[in-house]
């Protein structure tokens, strides 16, 4: 009892002044490896390796949340107060948690100021044992140690918004220019998945009392909030802030975008809300950002795949000019610039032709008529435009289309075009993914959800599954940073990966699938595809 009071005092006292003066400094040490003096943090490892600066930062191993991780067989223990200072015998079996690395022994001594300082400086644990050789010895002064310790007392200790005793709140975000068919398809999946999950808690929610609930201690229902944005993208961030103020959520799941996702990405990063696996053709490429996670780079990935093909074919193909066509209100513009930036037009002429909003069929025809024998057309166009391509092929060398924008194998390309067109296909081939797709497609069928857009609906189902797994793995540590960290660690173990051959993330990786194919149609009719080459990482 006295011990407990002592530790409470110990934990509270430094944190008062720390919050006022030192917390940011401690955070810099912890996350970036920068000392208050501006000098880099330095540490020595026993095997003779010195670390410095960012590489020496605590967060590399103990992670931003401080909740630690498992690196192969090496357990990297949590450094939050709950774990460091948990007092002797204060927890029963129901509070057992593998993160302690102590198994079921509830009799371990907690750390105190002295033993923790020794662990940081000398790599010696609270019981006098040598810590793992991964743990550097940091020759830190008393002030820095004190600020770190007080940082640990607050780290991941608050209840995050969107978490209550019986409910976890999530949002999905839909931009006003999102495709209405996909919108319906996505919401059907989300609503059903959430309902399923809550129905599972039959007989009312309760906190289980026996040791069997070690892994599923508290069963919370999930609540989905649909945040539909309106008006100009310039106002979206403010709308999202208002949504979050009115109905705080723990994380953003799935979602549907149109021309731009940037305001949503920025909101999530600023509000420190995980923004998991939205359905967007043009994600935001900012891998230093922490909270937004995407399936792949969408049309940017397509642009790089196409750029690579154009470069490889240079010389033998007779391409003299690359002509990119896109609509001004769509994501093709960014894709076209990405292709140029990736060097796809190096050594040949390059022009972009823009279809203005409301442009009619004949305007696209006119653009094509201006083609010449050395032109490679790149069409960043939606099914509506592809459908209206003239039956007669223009003068050209070759034509490439965006699979994601053009409807993939279901693209309504006219016959003549199907014979010659190549398509960027940043997914696994239909034949190859058949077995994997049984999971999402079977689930949709069982729940009698109409299949309206396979990619959107399968991705949404996948996003829900990944989130459900992650939430389960997190036990009761509903910490947003931890959620992202767990997804990083867990997603590559999945075998159900829908349209993607595999998924993988890591610190600093925010796009789970990295490659794609260039394909062409096997026949002028039908949806069978033939890959031009192997799965490629551009």
């Amino acid at each position: 009892m006295y011990q407990r009071i002592f530790f409470l005092l110990f934990m509270l006292a430094p944190c008062v002044w720390a919050q006022a003066e030192n917390l940011t400094a401690a955070e810099k040490v912890y996350r970036q490896g920068i000392l208050a003096s501006g000098e880099p943090l330095r540490g020595d490892r026993e095997i003779g390796v010195q670390v410095e600066g960012a590489e020496a930062a605590c967060a590399n191993c103990h992670r931003r949340s401080g909740l630690g991780t498992l690196e192969g067989r090496i357990l990297i223990p949590p450094v939050t107060a709950k774990y460091l200072f948990r007092t002797n015998g204060s927890h029963g079996l129901e509070d057992m948690d593998y993160r302690f690395g102590t198994g079921i022994n509830s009799q371990r001594e907690p750390y105190n100021e002295v033993s923790l300082a020794r662990a940081i400086r000398e790599g010696i644990g609270k019981e006098g044992q040598k810590l793992n050789p991964l743990m550097p010895h940091y020759p830190l002064d008393d002030t820095t140690i004190a600020s770190l310790i007080s940082y640990f007392t607050t780290l991941s200790s608050d209840t995050e918004p969107g978490v209550s005793g019986d409910t976890l709140h999530f949002a999905t975000i839909i931009t006003p220019d999102a495709d209405p068919v996909k919108r319906k398809g996505m919401l059907d999946v989300l609503e059903r998945f959430f309902a399923d999950r809550n129905e599972f808690l039959r007989g009312g929610r309760r906190v289980l009392q026996s040791a069997v609930h070690v892994k599923y201690r508290v069963t919370r229902s999930w609540q989905l909030h649909v945040w539909e944005l309106t008006g100009s993208p310039l106002t979206w961030e403010e709308q999202l802030r208002q949504h979050q103020a009115a109905e705080p959520v723990f994380a953003v799941i799935s979602g549907l975008g149109g021309k731009t996702w940037m305001p949503v990405h920025r909101f999530c990063e600023a509000a420190t809300i995980p923004c998991l696996l939205p359905n967007v053709d043009l994600p935001v490429e900012a891998e230093n950002d922490f909270y937004p996670v995407y399936f792949n780079k969408g049309v940017l990935l397509e642009a790089r795949l196409l750029s690579q093909v154009l470069q490889e074919n240079k010389g033998q193909s007779g391409i003299k000019r690359v002509v990119q066509i896109y609509r001004e209100e769509d994501v093709g513009q960014e894709a076209a610039s990405a292709l140029i930036k990736a060097g796809g037009t190096a050594g040949v002429a390059s022009i972009s032709r823009v279809l203005k909003t409301g442009a009619k069929k004949h305007e696209l025809e006119n653009m094509l008529k201006q083609g010449s024998a050395g032109d490679a057309f790149i069409l960043w166009l939606r099914p509506e435009d592809l459908q209206s391509l003239p039956d007669e092929l223009p003068k050209m060398n070759s034509v490439y289309i965006s699979g994601l924008m053009g409807g993939l194998e279901n693209s309504p390309l006219p016959k003549a075009w199907r014979r010659v067109a190549h398509m960027a296909y940043p997914l696994d081939l239909p034949e190859m993914r058949k077995a994997r797709m049984n999971f999402p497609l079977g689930w949709l069928k069982i729940h009698k959800i109409p299949l309206v857009d396979e990619l959107t609906q399968a991705n949404t189902y996948l996003a829900c599954g990944i989130m459900a797994e992650t939430i389960t793995d997190m036990l009761d540590s509903f910490v947003r940073d931890y959620m992202v960290e767990r997804i990083e660690s867990m997603v590559s173990y999945r075998t159900v990966t829908g349209h993607y051959p595999r998924l993988g993330l890591a610190p600093g990786q925010r796009f789970a699938s990295k490659g794609g194919y260039i394909v062409h149609f096997a026949e002028p009719e039908g949806i069978r595809l033939i890959a031009d080459g192997d799965w490629t990482i551009p």
């Binding site: 095997i47 670390v51 590399n60 690196e71 192969g72 015998g89 009799q107 595999r502 990786q509 799965w535």
Partner: protein, 210 residues
């Protein structure tokens, strides 16, 4: 009461260590090779496990950091001694340590540097394109004679399987270093965090270099 018990246990276990240590010391006196053996043993860092192994390597195509497609066998059999580890560039825990160790090893090899080929094989090949590997090499100041390899996911897994280091996923990897004095010679495998000195002395031992 329980606390008392565990303290008692601790005291007991301390008590038990002393006689064992004594036995080791006593051993030195009677065994003429004990000193040598002990030196060999203590030469390796704590927590490492050294073993000898034969690996059958299938034909595997990899891509070197300069973008060139190569055969693993050709890279291993150019006559130089080889030291191999497995890394991925987004790794923030194990790999920075093993990569630093390679950097130090390059420095310590001195005049033998050109006789040893350091090989780091990515276990996250889709992320670690040749360009990404070159960046990583720069970060760890890798000199000539230290190459990084990527390839298809299948090729990376085949390589890991061949060397018995495949653990299902990059997130589940463990530190392993493999050394071989020359083509046809057996492999020495060190599990755990080997220091640059460990690797250097092992290299000298198997290659007979002074």
């Amino acid at each position: 009461m329980r606390i008392f018990n565990s303290k008692l246990l601790m005291l007991l276990s301390i008590g038990m260590i002393v006689p064992i240590a004594g036995a080791v010391l006593a051993d030195d006196a009677v065994d003429p090779h004990a000193g040598h053996r002990k030196m060999m043993m203590s030469a390796m860092s704590e927590g490492t496990k050294t073993s000898t192994a034969e690996y059958v390597l299938p034909k595997i195509k990899l891509v070197r950091d300069d973008g060139k497609a190569v055969l693993l066998a050709d890279e291993l059999n150019d006559g130089r001694a080889v030291v191999i580890n497995f890394i991925y560039t987004s790794c923030t825990q194990i790999c920075p340590v093993t990569s630093h160790t390679f950097l130090q090893l390059q420095g310590k090899l001195g005049k033998d540097r050109d006789k040893v080929h350091l090989i780091s094989i990515s276990i996250d090949p889709e992320q670690d394109t040749p360009a990404v590997l070159r960046e990583y090499a720069k970060r760890f100041e890798a000199g000539t004679g230290w190459n990084f390899y990527t390839g298809t996911t299948e090729a990376s897994i085949a390589t890991q399987r061949a060397f018995e280091v495949f653990r299902g996923d990059k997130m589940n990897h463990a530190p392993v270093t493999l050394l071989r004095a020359a083509p046809g010679k057996p492999w020495v495998r060190i599990d755990g965090f080997a220091s640059a000195d460990d690797l250097l002395s092992k290299y000298k031992e198997i290659s007979g270099s002074k």
